[in-house]
Amino acid sequence: MGRELSDRILSVEHVSKSFPGVKALDDVSLEVGRGVVHGIVGENGAGKSTLMKILSGVYTKDSGTVEFDGQRVERTTPMESLRRGLSIIYQEFSLISSMTVGENIFLGRFREAGGMKGTHQKAGELLGQIGSSISTHKLVSELSTSEKQMVEIAKALSFESKLIIMDEPSSSLTEEELAKLGALIRQMREKGISILYISHKLDEIFEYCDVVTIMRDGHVIDTRPVSELDRGEMVGMMVGRTIENEYPERPRAVGEPLMRVEHLTTGKLKDISFTLNRGEILGFVGLVGAGRTEIVRAIYGADKVKRKEVRIEGKSLKITSPRDGKRCGMALVPEDRKQQGLVLPFSVESNISMANLEKVKRGIFLSPDKERKMAEENIDSLLIKTPSPTAAIVNLSGGNQQKCIIARWLETEPKIFIMDEPTRGIDVGAKYEIYMLMKKAVEAGSSIILISSELPEVLHMSNRVLTIADGRITGEFDPEKVSAQEIMNRAIG
């Protein structure tokens, strides 16, 4: 468009990449200008991650050209890309948790950084530049998520990166940390660093990005300045159809009290008591690390507790293991899909049936037919996109993996469905489907405890919201009557 060549830091032309059975990228072209924050949006499986991995050198492309900073790039390795000035900050951080912050920033460049002393000194300067006061001698395992992100950014800066790719940088940040990230992005843009910002959260795209590229099914659908687009249009392009509402209508099926938790106390939690009603969606709002996940894990029996009284339907229950929790009619969809939710070597069908083997037995033996049937029914009713029930679970997109976990627990017919960040890292279309599943579940008589870092999600879906700060319940709100501001204030504590 009449721009000079030097205005572009990165240009990708006609790049394609296939994996056995899937065409992940099909003739993708993209240009990123210098000092521009360039957003990439698209549903899971749209090809964003593949494109990114080609740029960083994790994958090699099948065809097409990539030009970075005026140079043609053919085969490359992650380290070479870094030295060329292209950094990637992955959703799951690539830091070594048993090493210190400084060592991580200069990983593999110990000598260049000037030994241990130089490492910590330079790392300290870099962190200072981005306004962080983390000690460079601290172990990464002791850092919070947002601190880890800071370290990743400092690492990117240490390579004098010209382009930083951020993959879902906000997925586990709280509102406050997010604001910090926003400031940081602006600061980097001013320095002339380009940023490729990959996110599902359209609000952030609108807030931070100058230009946005929309991808779907391995194709680039459109690239436009953000100012020319509105939200509906963008979502429409992402999913190939227009979504009118991001959230379904709030379910209203609240009945009598179902579960009463009293005096729940652990090392971190301080005397938590609350009631959950039948057919209710109860939202937990709080900062990351406030104790939301700990509360539900303790109730479910996954963590040890000092004190706990749980009554379901008036009956006092002893729940000391997840097995007890499950038997009492609870189900837990954990926050970390890969680490806590899926058995990665398993197929789709085994992942669904694994909590329900009693149901797929014929006599004492497992019946492959029954198992297949269970999987197929769930694939149909939850609209899970998979080539077959026997496909490996790792080949599915995040949203579909999440649906498999939900399917596993729906099959146990839980009375209390605990969902910890059920829509993290999932695209808009799949999110809506998960909201619909939640709605259906409560209308069928289950209750849901919903934990989410996305405030709008909690506020739109819940019948009641509890704010949690520092291991205590600090407030109870009706999300229809109280503003998000007020709730957030209480959650910050």
Binding site: V58, P322, R323, Q340, V343, M354, F365
Partner: protein, 318 residues
């Protein structure tokens, strides 16, 4: 092109089977007694005990562990059987030996599951301990059995002239295959090995499952010890010194990964068969025992290298 690719992929997937076919093919060109019914049957017969050890170990490996105490367990259980045989009915003696195996497995399991110790180290230590006991009992001398019935267990041919050992092995293969594939215990083993935390959170008694796998493996090793001493009509503390290594190795070569959650009894069967076949071929070709060990080592390393290479490529595809 695509046919070649398919063949290559198939070979990648079934390395051990490919190795077996390759060896069978190569042996055609040598004039040895390899292709005689006697040799093949004899080889299978002597492989049978190792194969059965591998079934138990496979269970443990699938659960995410490994067991290096099986060799010593095998030798000890043979000795126990022979020693007890003089004082009680044969059946009781055998049962006592198997119970000892289960007990050793129980202790292994306790350390691995409850104390979260590295299974490699614990079972290696258990192996030393068991070997020590075996030596102490026998004063490191072989103990002969004086019971004809006992000898017949492993040396007889009850059905159609097929050696008993082969029949027992086939039955065990089917039993373990069924357990792993068609029972919830078997499925839970895969889940526990595939992801311990996820299995626990899904209401599976992960501890109990993994622990049971060790117990079964120990009992199986003891059972194999009974068969071995029956076959040789002696018990000795030096039997099984290198058994544990080759059995665990055979399982991995067959495709039951130490990472846990993948593989199966048929795979281990093939893997161990490949190792046994290799030994037999080299014997037939008159290769010296030392060179044999070198060759075996190299081939195992090669197969594992291919395995990891394929694994890496697969990871990239994800």
């Amino acid at each position: 092109m695509s046919v070649v690719r398919k063949v290559v992929r198939e070979i990648e997937k079934r390395k051990a089977l490919t190795a077996i076919l390759l060896m069978l093919f190569i042996m055609v060109f040598f004039d040895t007694r390899f292709y005689t019914a006697y040799n093949l049957l004899d080889m299978l017969n002597s492989a049978a005990i190792l194969e059965m050890l591998a079934f138990g170990v496979t269970l443990v490996i699938i659960c995410g562990g490994c067991d290096f105490s099986i060799g010593a367990m095998m030798s000890l259980s043979g000795i126990i059987t022979i020693k007890l045989m003089d004082h009680m009915p044969l059946g009781f003696a055998i049962c006592a030996a198997i119970a000892c195996g289960a007990l050793a497995g129980f202790v292994n399991g306790f350390f691995v599951v409850k104390q979260k110790t590295e299974p490699f180290i614990i079972t290696l230590g258990m192996g030393m301990l068991l070997k020590g006991i075996a030596q102490q009992i026998t004063d490191a001398h072989p103990v002969p059995a004086k019971n004809l019935t006992f000898m017949k267990i492993a040396n007889g041919k009850v059905l159609f002239g097929i050696p008993n050992l082969i029949i027992i092995m086939v039955v065990m293969l089917l039993v373990f295959y069924y357990i792993l594939r068609y029972t919830s215990f078997g499925r839970n083993c895969y889940a526990v090995g595939g992801d311990y935390n996820v299995a626990t959170q899904s209401g599976i008694r992960a501890e109990r499952i993994k622990w049971s796998a060790f117990v079964i493996c120990g009992a199986m090793a003891a059972f194999c010890g009974v068969l071995l001493s029956s076959r040789l009509n002696t018990g000795s503390s030096i039997y099984g010194d290198s058994t544990a290594l080759s059995v665990n190795c055979g399982c991995v070569v067959g495709g039951t990964s130490f990472a846990g959650g993948v593989g199966g009894v048929p795979q281990s069967f093939i893997g161990l068969l490949a190792i046994q076949l290799l030994e037999n071929c080299m014997n037939m070709l008159g290769i010296s025992a030392y060179v044999q060990q070198v060759c075996e080592g190299i081939i195992i390393l090669l197969i594992l290298w291919f395995d990891n290479y394929a694994q890496k490529r697969k990871e990239e595809a994800v």
